[in-house]
Symmetry: C2
Subunit: 211 residues, 2 copies
């Protein structure tokens, strides 16, 4: 049966709770809380890997996991070769261009000629500005991007927004929506053939409309 047992890469953080609930509904015994554990073997032989969201594609591409759940926003930023089989619908958020309310860019105030934009989403931001022929200096950051316009590091930010609370708390406003993201079910293309029955069965259970 090891043949059919799956290894599933799961994202810690914002997507975890919904991903775990969806897998439990699909019959896999996923713990509610992960704690410091990196991996768990469930009663039915499934192995779960608890990863940083941005690490899920690497574990799936190299076959250390057969499949995984990951936000579309993470897939935008990676070159990793994974097959996206389903939109799971949860984890909705928007990638937006945002700025300070006081700068009025959201009301059409002209952008600075030499535009500086801070973001964790360098690739998505590059594509967005390239399509608009806007020259821009991107400043890659790793956390708390919302601070950067407040201290003059950047004119604008490109960031994910779920509820909008973080923007509001810092008096930032959406200037333009760039894209929408939800959680996706991804598989290793080679494993998809080798474990076709187990992976399609899981896919069907994950995407079944709840009764």
């Amino acid at each position: 049966m090891t043949d059919k047992a799956l290894t599933i890469a799961l994202p810690k953080g914002a997507l975890y709770r919904d991903a775990a609930a969806r897998l439990r509904a699909a019959g896999i015994d996923v713990p509610e809380h992960v704690g410091r554990k990196l991996t768990v073997r469930t009663a039915d032989g499934t192995t779960l890997l608890f990863l940083r969201p941005s690490d899920v594609p690497a574990y799936v591409e190299f076959g250390s996991a057969d499949c995984g759940i990951v936000g579309k926003d993470t897939l935008w930023e990676t070159d990793r070769n994974v097959a996206e089989l389903a939109d799971l619908g949860f984890g909705y958020c928007r990638l937006v261009l945002a700025g300070r309310r006081i700068d009025r860019y959201h009301e059409g105030a002209p952008l600075p000629t030499f535009l500086r934009v801070a973001t964790k989403f360098t690739r998505s931001a590059e594509t967005f500005f390239a399509e608009r022929d806007l020259p821009v200096e991107l400043i890659p950051l790793h956390g708390s991007v919302e601070l950067s316009p407040l201290v003059g590091l950047a004119d604008l930010i490109v960031d994910l927004v779920a509820t909008g609370t973080t923007l509001r708390e810092h008096d930032l406003v959406v200037v333009e929506e760039i894209a929408e993201s939800t959680a996706r079910f991804v598989v290793n293309p080679v494993r998809f053939r080798a474990k076709y029955d187990a992976l399609t069965a899981l896919l069907e259970r994950l995407t079944a409309v709840p009764a």
Copy 2:
């Protein structure tokens, strides 16, 4: 006096406690715990920015902070133009090449011809392997790198080790030491001239040997 008031970029995480203690010893009223705050103005007019460690160089290069405290390991991985003025001595850790005990690479077992190495320290790892003429596929990860050799994602990892507990817990061992890191005091080169008196005074207080 705004002229002389400094903005200091501080790293959240492992270095924070020692960095805050050192600044307090230098007369700056730094809070013990940061919580969700991104910035604080102290009684003496100093502004503190609480940042992801890897974001400190960007805030200092662009002058959103005049100076900052950051681990040498972060400076290895960045192109940001900041001037390193002092080794503050605390936050000691080592960048090491590590592998599974069972693979016996630490005892001289031959490395695989097609070597895969997972790391958060891509630049340092690239330099290390290039100097040894070892062809290698680097797999950039963002967290829990210690999991990767256990599930076959990588043969070896390049990672920071402070106490060694994480390696021991996963039955990993150091194969080779690559470099040593401690916290550094960095400044924006232009601001160093503009705020020379304030920055050299802070530098002296930060590096003063405690009586």
